[in-house]
Amino acid sequence: MKQYVIIGNGAAAAGCIEGIRAVDTAGSITVISAEQHPVYCRPLISYYLQHKTDLQRMRYRSETFYADNHVSVAFGRTAIEISADTKEITLDSGEIIAYDALCVCTGSSPFVPPMQGLETVEKQFAFMTVDDALAIEQAVTPESNVLIIGAGLIGLKCAEGLHGRAGSITVCDLAPRVLSSILDDKCAAMMQKHLEANGIRFLLGTSAKEFRGSKAVMQSGETVDFDVLVLAVGVRANTALVKNAGGDVNRGILTDDACKTSLPDVYAAGDCTEYHDISSDSVKVMALMPNAYMQGHTAGVNMAGGAAVFDNAIPMNSIGFFGLHCHTAGTQPDGCEMYEEADETHIKRLFVKNDRLTGFMLIGHMHRTGIYTALIRNQTPLSSVDFARLRIEPQLAAMGADYREHVLKGAV
């Protein structure tokens, strides 16, 4: 009977469990969970603050998930060492656990750049875990002035979550636009305008250089008074365990299409990894929950002796604020052509290069977007479809009769 060990207890770990059990119903599975909670939907912590979900509904899987899959979970424990030679891990408790196959799903940690006087700030939080959300909920009152450092996905979802709970919300970022990792200037401007219309104040192109208790001094010289500080500058992949064991890491743990690391019988999945983005043909950290699950599932199948690959990963984000939604996927390469539609309420930007759709940014109108995503993921030659119709409206009708027959007349 094989012994499987998973370090981490997020979506990648859940995928790994389900991948293992798709192949091997007998082997033992041990999960090492630093957090005291059963696997939950990490991106839903902002929806929790908005009262759109609660702790029970935020569970990623049913209450009987671990029992059903015969998984033993060590809650509140962290792994401190992987010994690849002896195929053992050591926990912070000193306990040593042997493995036949190991999956590292250690996620990422908030990155806090050095900022003078940060230690003088009484109420400061990250926004990565449900415990962070619960702590922020405790700290914020209707009179609170909240300052969020970072106008990326995490910072802005936190701002939306706190809307209505706090007196004021100010978001600053060194980047000159919001959501700079996924949106270009025009799309970001539309999103920023909408966020501002909902009461979020922005200070862009500047960040805090110094804190004095409840006052932040910006690089621009401006000062901001606040009661609650949220640090959402960025995240760093948790690579140390694999690095210290002699495995290959860059900004993330390096994994191949089978989700294997360079260490024998050690796999990795989720936000701690970097892997191939087919839309830009480059290796990068893509800290995305759907990809994390798919990596974990792939790793699990392979750990149990099956043969699975995750060889069509792309960056993609579905995110909305105050009712205005945004879908992005793929990449915007140098020298690409752009198809654009834009009016007051929506933007569509499709990026085309070498007869392929390489990426898109859509704001405001989200109907059947996945047809575009599939064009990127499948690297469909646009000369083989009616792109003149597709770019106006995603539809199977423009994908050719053979494809339509394949999709609609049998099981896919």
């Binding site: 996927a329 047809i371 999709v407 007349k409 896919v412």
Partner: protein, 147 residues
């Protein structure tokens, strides 16, 4: 398993399936009250190709469903081959809309995700699009594919 299939040579493009779908999932008993003067949000979409051929598209209940794997709320699952959304868990993030390669998950009137669940959760009993198609262009049958 039984799935919904279309016979495009029989489709009239009348869009009754879209109305029957919206009505079946409205929770109401009077079609006029349910639909009159309202923008409908059906879970089945009639498409027209460049040659004027029409046909309806609804969830394929994929063997390896990327919507299930991608749902960040743990709200989409596959039970006995049927892919369904737990609406109490869906937060309306629309990741499923972003990943469905066939455009079969769409927003409902409240901004949450919805898709064809073969009328198993409403009072219709059998797929309303199939029952109501005047020309037999939508069928619900077993085609014996490997799952």
């Amino acid at each position: 398993m039984k799935r919904i299939y279309v016979k495009e040579e029989w489709c009239l493009g009348c869009r009754l399936c879209e109305y029957n779908c919206a009505f079946a999932n409205s929770g109401m008993t009077d079609m006029v009250k349910a639909l009159r003067g309202k923008e409908i949000h059906p879970r089945i979409q009639v498409e027209t190709d460049a040659d004027g051929i029409t046909y309806a598209v609804s969830c394929r209940h994929c063997t390896d469903p990327i919507c299930v794997k991608s749902c960040i709320a743990g709200a989409i699952s596959k039970k006995d081959g049927v892919i369904e959304i737990d609406h109490s868990k869906c937060v309306g993030c629309l990741t499923c809309v972003l990943v469905c390669p066939y455009g079969c998950v769409v927003e409902d009137e409240g901004g949450a995700a919805q898709k064809c669940e073969l009328c198993m959760k409403n009072t219709c009993g059998a797929p309303a699009c199939v029952k109501g198609c005047p020309n037999g262009a939508i069928v619900y049958e077993e085609r014996g594919e490997a799952e």
